[in-house]
Subunit: 350 residues, 2 copies
C-alpha cells in the first residue's frame, strides 16, 4: 500500500439494489412507482428552455422550495431540498450527529444508516425490532447522540402510530430526531405537523416513490427554521448548487400536481390491498404494510428459492441475505397487471 | 442555545456570487459561458423520454462516464462524476485528506477550499502567491497532508506551466495532489496525461464553463483506477445516485459534441484577447489570463468604485473585498457585443 493510501477514508460502500434492464421485465425490486410522472411534469419538460442551462441555477432552489412550502403549508425557511432523500439524510447526519454518544436506529431498517455513520465516524447502536418487526418506542428513551428511523419502516412496511412517534420525540429534546418518511404517502400518518412543536425534529420525504420521480433525485426535509438554517449552512459549505435546473423545473411541477399525486398513490394502495389478499391466499404472511411494498415470507417455500424462480421469469423482487430477514421478499407494488402476473406465477409455482 | 445545538457542525458557509436577474443585464460575474449548450444537447432534451423518470438512474452513471472515457482517451475506471466540480472536490476532500498534517493551497484561490477544510476539520496552510500572482512551486515541496490548487488559478487567471505542475506532483508521492482544472479549456495545458504516471494525481474538470452547462451541475475527475475506486467507494457511501437522468442524457450529449466545444471555447479566447488589448488601452493591468475571465486593476480608479458604476448600468462583474485583491475586478468573458458594451462604458466613465 502506498503512503498516500494511509490517509484515505476507507468504507464498506452501500450496494444499491440491482437495476436489471430487460424489455419484458416486471421490476418490483427498488420500490419505484409503476406510473409515469404527472402530466404537468411532461408539460414542464416540453417547455424547458435550453439557453438558460448555461447559467448557474438558483443556489437556494427557490422555485422548488416555495412550491413545497405552499403544498405542505409551512414557511419556506422550514424547507430543505437535496439530490434525493439520500443527499438530505447524508447532510443531516453530517450536520446534526456530532455527539460522542451513539445515535440510535433499528437493527432492521434502511441499510444506509450504518453506512453514513461509518463514513462520518459517528458512534451508533442498532436496536432490535420486536418479533412482529415493530420498533419498540421505549428503546429510544435513553441517552443518545441522535435518533433516526423510517416511518413506515423499511423493508418491513410497518407504521408506528403518530402518538408513539411523538412520545419518542417528546422524550428527546436534547437530540435531533429524524423521521425518514420516504414511504409515508401510501396511507401512513406524517408527523410533519409536529415541526411547529419540536424544534429538534426533522421530517424527510422524497419525490422518488409517490411522485414517480426516482430518476430525478429530489428529496426534501421539513423542520424548525433553526434546524433548517443549520442544515443549509452545512449544505452551502459542501456544494452551493446541488439542484440542477431540470430538478427545479420538473420537481416544482411534480409537487404542484396534488390531484395526480392523490390519484396514483390511491391506485397503488388499492393494488397493495388486493395483493395482500392474494398473497395470504397463497400461504404468505407479512407485517401489515402502509407502503408501496410488501415484506412477505411463505409458510413452506424458502424466500431465496422464490427470489431465484421469479428472477428466471424476469420478475425482479428484493431479497436481503441478512439475519432475521433472510426468509423474506420485499415486493414493490406495481400495476394491477404486473401484480396479477406475479400472483399467477406464484400460484402455479407453489 | 438548546442542548441539541451543541452537537451541530457549525460552519461559516461559502457565499456564492450574486445571481442578479434583469432582462437587459450583462452578466460577467460568475464565469458562465455566453453561448448556449451544443445543438446535440438541445436534441437530447427534445428527445428525452419522461416515462423512464419513474425509475432510478444508473448509479455508476455509465452513459456519461463512458462518453468521458472516450472523449479523453482514458478507461472508464479512471473517471469519476459528480454534481458539479464542487461535489467532486468535496468528495475528494472527504476521501483523501485525512492526515494530521496540513493540506496546502494558495492564499488567493478558489474560495471554497478553506470552506471544505473547515467543514471536514482538515488542517490546512495557505501559501502566498508571489507579487505577480503566481503560485510558487517550491512552496509545495515540503511535508503535507495533501495538495490542491486550480490551474489556471482563480480568480487570477494565471497558468502554471505543465513542467512546474509535474515537479510538484513528482515531489509529493506520499500525498494526493488535486489539480482543479475548471478553467483549463480556454488555452491552458491539462496535466491529464500524467494520471498514467502518478497514481496519486486527481485532475478535476467541469461542464459548467467550457460546455455552457453551469445549470446542469456536472463535474468530473480523472485519476488512476486505484484513486477513482477509493473516491467511488466514499461517494456510494454518501449518495448512491447523484446524477439524475437529465444529467446523464444531456451531459453525454455535451461531451460528445467536440466540434461545438472547440468552436465556442475558441470564440471566447478570441474575445478575451480583444478585451485584453482594449483594457490595456484604458489603463488596466492584469496577469495574463488563460481562462474565460480577466482579473484587472486600474492605474487610477478604485475597483470598488468601478464595480458599483458598472452595476448601475446592469453590467455585473465580481469584486472580492479581500486582502491583496480588493483593488481588482474579475471580469468574465461574454460575447463580443457584451464586451464592446463594457469597454464603451469604461471608456466613457474613465
Amino acid at each position: 500500500m502506498s503512503i498516500w493510501e494511509e490517509n484515505v477514508r476507507k468504507v464498506i460502500p452501500y450496494t444499491p439494489g440491482e437495476q436489471p434492464d430487460f424489455p419484458d421485465m416486471i421490476k418490483l425490486n427498488t420500490n419505484e412507482n409503476p406510473y409515469p410522472p404527472s402530466p404537468l411534469v411532461k408539460k414542464a419538460l416540453e417547455e424547458m428552455e435550453l439557453n438558460s442551462m448555461r447559467l448557474y441555477p438558483a443556489p437556494a432552489a427557490d422555485a422548488l422550495v416555495e412550491e413545497l412550502a405552499e403544498a405542505y403549508h409551512v414557511k419556506k425557511e422550514q424547507v430543505f431540498v437535496g439530490v434525493g432523500s439520500d443527499d438530505v439524510l447524508a447532510m443531516a447526519f453530517l450536520t446534526f450527529f456530532n455527539s460522542e454518544k451513539p445515535i440510535l436506529f433499528p437493527d432492521i431498517t434502511y441499510s444506509f444508516y450504518d453506512v453514513w455513520a461509518d463514513l462520518f465516524r459517528i458512534p451508533y447502536e442498532q436496536l432490535p425490532l420486536n418479533e412482529d418487526f415493530a420498533i419498540v418506542p421505549e428503546d429510544y428513551m435513553k441517552e443518545n447522540g441522535g435518533i433516526i428511523f423510517p416511518n413506515p419502516n423499511a423493508p418491513t412496511g410497518v407504521e408506528m402510530p403518530f402518538e408513539e412517534v411523538e412520545k419518542i420525540i417528546a422524550y428527546n429534546p436534547e437530540s435531533v430526531v429524524i423521521i425518514d418518511e420516504a414511504y409515508v404517502d401510501f396511507g401512513a400518518a406524517s408527523v410533519l405537523p409536529l415541526i411547529e412543536k419540536y424544534e429538534n425534529l426533522l421530517v424527510v420525504q422524497t419525490t422518488s416513490k409517490s411522485r414517480s420521480m426516482a430518476g430525478m433525485r429530489i428529496g426534501y426535509a421539513f423542520g424548525s427554521e433553526k434546524l433548517i438554517h443549520y442544515l443549509n449552512d452545512a449544505k452551502y459549505s459542501f456544494n452551493s448548487y446541488t439542484m440542477n435546473r431540470p430538478s427545479l423545473v420538473l420537481g416544482s411541477a411534480a409537487i404542484r400536481d396534488q390531484e395526480y399525486f392523490r390519484k396514483i398513490t390511491g391506485k397503488i394502495m388499492a393494488t397493495r390491498e388486493w395483493t395482500k389478499k392474494e398473497l395470504k391466499r397463497l400461504g404468505f404472511t407479512f407485517p401489515d404494510s402502509k407502503t408501496n411494498f410488501i415484506f412477505a415470507t411463505h409458510e413452506k417455500v424458502q424466500a431465496k428459492e422464490l427470489f431465484e424462480a421469479l428472477k428466471e421469469q424476469h420478475i425482479f423482487v428484493r431479497y436481503f441475505n441478512k439475519p432475521r430477514i433472510d426468509n423474506y421478499l420485499r415486493i414493490t407494488i406495481g400495476t394491477d397487471e404486473q401484480m396479477k402476473k406475479l400472483i399467477d406465477f406464484l400460484e402455479q409455482y407453489l
